[in-house]
Amino acid sequence: MPTLAPYFNALGEFAQPMMLFHVVWATLLGIFIGSLPGLTATMGVALLTTLTYSMERDAAILVLICMYVGAIYGGSRSAILLNIPGTPASAATSLDGYPLAKAGRAQYAMGLATAGSATGTLVGILLLVMVAPPLAEAALKFGSFEFFWLAVFGIVISGQLTGGVSPLKGYIAGILGLMVAMVGSEGIHAHVRFSFGYDQLNGGIALIPAMVGAFGFAEVLIAISQRRPDLVTHSDKSDRMLPRLIDLWRYKFTVVRSGIIGTFVGIIPGVGEDIGAWASYAVAKRTSKERDQFGTGSTEGLTAAETGNSAVIPGALIPALTLAVPGSAPAAVLIAALFIHGIRPGPMIMFEQPDFIYSVAAMLTFATIAIGTFGILLTRVFVLVLRVPREYLMPLVFTLCVIGPYALTQRPFEIVVMVFFGIAGYLLRKMNYPIAPLVLGIILGELLDKSLRRSLILSDGDLTPFFTRPISAAFALLILVSVILSLGPVRRFFLNRITRRAAKGEG
């Protein structure tokens, strides 16, 4: 059973003026980015990664984590005031947040969102500290067979859960990501694949330019082509920023349950905050006594959604740190940033950097305190942020999209990669393809490729161990069940049964 002593030690280490300064500006920047529709947490973390190359390791990771937490929280602002989620993570928030704002309770909704986000992250942090170290130890039992299945599992489950009504599109996005990872020198025989004689492709496609393109450039295009939303900021006399303690206490079970759901959704590879929020919201709606108010301004619904999406953050970092498999798209960028700063995430992390998981938990804690503080104190400032004209903001964002990836290697080729993925990301998104499996594919491609071929060398070409080793067999079974459940006729069969049962219940 892991103890909390290393976590408290890490908290003490980070409680220094310079680190706190980083917490303040990075969280504020995160909230700013998350608040603006069109700028997502992934884009914020990807762009900021390019600004942390020269920073000291702990400070750089702290800044990125604060950006991540701030941006996910910031998304609730525009979800409540504009009915447009600042980030996809806040889509469920807008269902009840916006009706509350229209009813003159915008400040109260934002206060509740702040409390929900903070408590959700804290629940997630607790689970991170408890779950990550034993998971890292368990992962030491993984061989190449298991890592192959883990990579396949990540793509399948991410594709299925983020593909919405069409898991097939999620699978296609994942396969496209894996294909991108096949470009360049492969990891076993150093043979260069699919470079077409172009030297710049020998090293493969770097994740950061691809992410900045798919999330940054694509979002610039989306934001600039959409109509400007209406801001709802009027308040009635009963509106208040600080939620009453009695309100929070009333929803204590919702908060804890949403926190746990969010964290476990976060652990699932490549799924992310939006699914965490929807899952928490759906469970809260099913179990609530006020379920008829959901969607019309339910404070419980708002709390569940915000707690759920914020709890995903620590959850997503659990597999990212212990297996090098990201639980969400921003966590994928964080993995790339960890490598840049000399940290090798994966099962060996508890041996190579035994305190690092606790340091990450401490960083998350400071970021949580920051969103709690700023969320309460700077409400009016964040309302002003929503008035920033995007005609001014977007060219600056695009300039950073250009120079950021270039700064990593100082090769103009990275700009070409960014532009390519920006256009591809825009088109895919408009065609309702999820981007998270694509990113996961780029990250997991090398692991999948090397693990499969290494396993086949070990087994002398025999496929049997892939299905007979206990952990491998469990993964194979899970993947098979997931794929079968995503098939059209099977899905329709279960949906019909659920609908019929619900109709009977109501009758």
Binding site: P412, I415, R454
Partner: protein, 160 residues
Amino acid sequence: MRLDSARADQVTAVVFFVLGVAMAVGGYTMDRLEIRQIHPASIPGLVPMALGVLLALCAIGLYLGARKKVDAPPTDGDSMSNLWFAAFYTIAYALGLVGRMPFELATGIFITVFVMHFTYGRLAEGRHPAIWIGSALLYAVICSVAVSALFRYAFLVRLP
């Protein structure tokens, strides 16, 4: 053609099918490194071949699914003129201007024209042309100098 329509799905299904087949063929014909006597199960083309086949199968599924799909009613659509301008202009800046002139100048020109284009409507609202141009120019100079200085002096990057 709307990008979220069944027709678009059919077109992309064909594109993905061709891409999948090309990937599978590319993997199959890839050097098997026999000269280095590697294990035959570890040939570099193995995973690309499998991915190509999988993508082609998914593309067939997408095509068949699109035949039954009913398009959602059109929503409050995007501004296509804004999109085309932003797409062409950003690409022209990234791949055309950057690297062919000093970064500060390229960025200054890019931001000025971008802001002026998207705030053009304010002239009709009564804004004086000098203020319209001046504010765009001032904003561009500040952003360009700040971004360039940040990367050149703080991150020691040799700007393109």
